[in-house]
């Protein structure tokens, strides 16, 4: 139980540091740590497959992509554009409104069932693979087409346009 609260505190702290730090490279590194704490959350929930996928896809692939782009654009603290204080305050108020509404509705609900692992086998690779390839076969194939489209689109966008420049 205490492990959950410790890890939750760490993820909140690093998530806040992600949006607070002025240097975008530091932001990416804090985000990597945040995703690592999310992996720990998945392990605590016994979702082992998703923990591994989160580790590989998010921390491995997506964050490396972010770091690559940041270093290609050669960005640091000096090139960081800043918003005015007014916009910042309004943004924080707007974001917190969501949390306040949700917390109030949870308080009104008056029920808080403890989270128990009913079926510890549910998040293992074998079971998840069976569900994925039996019930969700069509969405799985469509998502492969989506990934192919994204790849083609990224290459097309990233290519230098010789006619226009």
């Amino acid at each position: 139980m205490t492990v959950f609260y410790l890890v939750a505190f760490l993820s909140l702290f690093f998530a806040i540091m992600t949006i607070l730090s002025k240097n975008p490279v530091h932001s990416v590194l804090y985000l990597v740590v945040t995703f690592f704490t999310f992996s720990i959350h998945y392990i605590l929930l016994n979702a082992q497959f998703l923990a591994v996928v989160n580790f590989i896809v998010y921390m491995g692939a997506i964050m490396v992509l972010f770091l690559f782009v940041l270093m290609l654009l050669n960005m640091n603290e000096d090139s960081e554009p800043l918003k005015s204080i007014f916009v910042k305050v309004i943004g924080i108020i707007a974001g917190m409104c969501f949390v306040i509404v949700l917390a109030a509705s949870l308080k009104l609900l008056k029920t808080s069932p403890p989270l128990e692992v009913i079926d510890p086998e549910i998040g293992l690779v074998g079971n998840l693979g069976k569900v994925l390839f039996k019930e969700f076969l069509l969405p799985f194939e469509i998502s492969s087409i989506l990934l192919l489209t994204a790849m083609v689109g990224a290459v097309l966008l990233g290519k230098k346009d010789k006619k226009r420049l």
Binding site: Y42, V69, K88, V117
Partner: protein, 106 residues
């Protein structure tokens, strides 16, 4: 491992995930760097993922975890295309300030 999670109320998971989601929203609203905005979107996607897994474990139904898998595939595609667009915009305007992109209005 199971004993550690057993006494955490589901409401705390909901509250925690909504806090992370709100941090993502605040990041989108208060930052002007496009890459930091995309990172905040990743944060929001991840908070929703964690809540889906928590509910899937709570109900003993594995469909939620399969859905998280699809969300991750979608996030990867989104990041690839988004960063390509950012690169192209940077090549044309020499800036990644989101306020410079207001010429897209016309």
């Amino acid at each position: 491992m199971f004993e550690t999670i057993q006494s955490v109320p589901l409401n705390h998971y909901i509250l925690f995930c909504s806090l992370i989601f709100a941090i993502g929203v605040i990041g989108v609203l208060t930052r002007r760097n496009v890459i930091v905005i995309m990172m905040s979107i990743e944060l929001m996607l991840n908070s929703v993922n964690l809540l889906l897994v928590a509910f899937s474990v709570f109900f003993g139904d594995s469909s939620g975890q399969v859905f998280v898998f699809f969300v991750m595939a979608l996030a990867a595609a989104e990041v690839a295309v988004g960063l390509a667009i950012i690169m192209m915009v940077y090549r044309n305007t020499r800036s990644i300030d989101i306020d410079i992109l207001n010429r897209l209005r016309w």
